[in-house]
Symmetry: C2
Subunit: 422 residues, 2 copies
């Protein structure tokens, strides 16, 4: 008797695992003659392949074959030490006093987002995010069965008044114990490009700490922190969490160095670090040891910091070019704000429907350009605005940016007003 | 109001995440003057660090900076193609016809075990394993809230009669729909060292296919397949699964090449591959791209296969030495069977209690040697034999093996019979 045609009796989590429409869209971006302003990749020209090749023999000679052995579940000690040292220089010297047991490396910061969600969220639990927010994380929350509450944001990031009233509402409804996470991208948000203001960072922490909810964990996603176009850095939310009791601070070596090394980091409250360590062991008992050693070595040799400087200049120039092209081709059709860092310009096209089944998206595809429809970044796409799009200047060349925005403008001029949004 | 002293309201999964005693034990192995015959690492001398350093410049020149960019969620196409080509030469040419969408790379095969368990198991669901079995996976099953049913094994691996009667019992109790996974290590098992006989491979598949259970997934863990000391290979269970409908075949590049590159692979039934792809994207949207490219390149340059040959000779010699030392020092105290491959000798010491709080373990630690107590490898440690231990000859030098077994024998002679087991 063959079981070929019987379905597997899958888990409730797997039942919630549905194909994200963004996947098809990214596949389209890989087609010939399509300029993708969608994919959130980095600029391949800036990847330090030649420099890593030049130091690799020294690296192996100095570190030895242990770089090819199993590593430590929580990540290479010396690199975790460097995470704290680097946080100390941006957020204050007390970061150096954090025990290493609260620092963990992961396969990109995405894996840490997954593990933290596993630790905190049962199906039906509540997670607060900005609206819009990082769409991959919305998929993770969907898998976990979370109820997502989106908080509107403006040019200073998530609205604290709206956050406070949302938490009040949750608590009054008797759901205080079910509010588990507040997720916020503090630097050059994906997709909106905005940073949470310093005053709001303090306020957010205060609101969460003094709420009637039991003890939600604040996840601060600082993936884009180092990709600032200016010189000023802003203290993290984590730096205001005096007892290290409320905030998980997540960063990555992907965006500011090399995504292919797939290494993110987190500084966690003690109780959360203990659970994360057990889960990480069960996930994979440690991310790739070779790439952790390589990042550690590149930091020691100065290659990491010099490369960050290159990236900041490169992305600042690309961002400026994209905004110039928008100004040249899209004035009157679109609104946008030049971000102070990161990889994205968040564009509003009032009167247009930017959705994946709308005319604009189809016309863009036929002109040969794609973008990420804004609706993917909203917890409830039906309730979000229909007129937004995310443009990424990360992997695009200058010529891609110029031609891509030109194609976008041609598509927009061919597209009848939808009357849908605004 | 500070929340420092309030506990986080963690998830049910995180409540099940408890520290495994094996962790402390491994930490002990890292202490000075302790010879660890416990840790399941590989021989550092065999790690091809020098050879990789020698080809790294060519690698970067030929592949370019894309090796440092984000990779593909499911893993590098050319390496997944090689997985199928290699399976074709060991399991028959039809492996080449499997669509690449059913092949996935992961952060070691452990990550694929985790994801498959997530896909199939809800709390209270039933998973069948051998008893003894791979203890890290027992921790993963505990996190998932699985009820584990252990099936006794002999020198040909898991008993098929016992498997059949266990499944019958599950179905008769009305739990057929809750039987989700049958996990089996087919080559040179961890910890027992035995391989499942070819006849039993066919029988196992037949029993699962014809059972009254709904459609349990067979996970074939072939992590040690390439570490055979002889020339004969055995067809995998997967090779008998004509419609690719029942078996997930898992392998790894860790044990036969370099664990620090942290890359495992799986060939999955179609429906499972679709779900695994969604979950993998949410876990990390792809394991380290650099290390996948590096393995792919090392296979193309012949370094992979030549290194496997070195490993097989090295481990065969170490295994022979360990068995000689056991013969010399432990005759009359212990029973064991020389394995045909892998990294472990499974030792029985009738009349002794090998548990972590027993006298033997304490005396070993004071003599300066540690092993993995057998009880960790049983789904129900209380019901398993008390007299087993796992010895690993992977990372130990010849001198470590000689001195380690000597210390073990001294400890055994100092230990009063427990009268506990047998």
């Amino acid at each position: 008797m063959s079981t070929t045609n019987r379905d597997f009796p899958i888990s409730a989590r797997a039942e919630r695992a549905t194909v994200q429409p963004i996947g098809e869209l990214m596949a389209k971006g890989a087609e010939k003659d399509i300029i993708s302003l969608a994919a959130g990749l980095v600029d391949e020209e800036t990847l330090p392949a030649r420099q890593i090749a030049a130091l690799f023999a020294d690296f192996i000679r100095e570190r030895g074959p242990k770089v090819l052995q199993y590593g430590v579940n929580e990540g290479l000690h010396s690199l975790r030490r460097k995470v704290l040292d680097r946080l100390a220089s941006s957020d204050g010297p007390s970061a150096r006093d954090v025990p290493l047991s609260r620092v963990m490396l992961s396969t990109g910061s995405q894996q840490m987002l997954y593990i933290l969600t596993e630790i905190m969220v049962d199906p039906g639990d509540i997670v607060i995010t900005a609206a819009p927010t990082y769409f991959v994380y919305l998929g993770t929350l969907q898998l976990a069965g979370a109820r997502i509450v989106g908080i509107p944001a403006d040019e200073d990031g998530m609205s604290i008044d709206a956050l406070e009233s949302a938490i009040d509402g949750i608590v009054k409804a008797g759901d205080g114990p079910r509010l588990k996470l507040v997720y916020v991208t503090t630097y050059f948000d994906n997709p909106s490009g905005v940073s949470l203001s310093v005053e709001r960072r303090r306020q957010l922490l205060r609101v969460v700490q003094s709420s009637g909810a039991v003890h939600p964990l604040v996840i601060e996603d600082a993936a884009y922190r180092e990709l600032s176009f200016g010189d000023a850095d802003t203290p993290s939310i984590w730096s205001f969490d005096d007892h290290g009791a409320n905030v998980a601070h997540l960063g990555t070596f992907s965006k500011p160095f090399s995504p292919g090394l797939r290494t993110g980091f987190a500084v966690l409250p003690r109780a959360i670090a203990e659970k994360a360590s057990i889960l990480k062991c069960s996930h994979d008992f440690g991310s790739a040891n070779l790439t952790q050693h390589l990042i550690d070595y590149c930091i020691e040799r100065g290659l990491y910091d010099s490369n960050v400087e290159v990236l900041r200049k490169t992305y600042a120039a690309k961002c400026a070019l994209m905004c110039q092209c928008l100004e040249r081709d899209m004035r009157g059709l679109a609104l946008w704000r030049a971000p102070g860092g990161g990889l994205y310009v968040w564009v509003d096209m009032p009167g247009f429907n930017t959705g994946p089944s709308g005319d604009l998206f189809a016309n863009c595809a036929s002109e040969g350009v794609i973008y990420v429809p804004g609706q993917f970044s909203y917890p409830d796409p039906a309730a979000g605005p229909k007129s937004k799009m995310r443009l990424c200047f990360g992997p695009a060349t200058a010529s891609d940016i110029e031609r891509g925005i030109g194609r976008l403008a041609r598509a927009a001029r061919r597209t009848p007003p939808s009357g849908g949004a605004r």
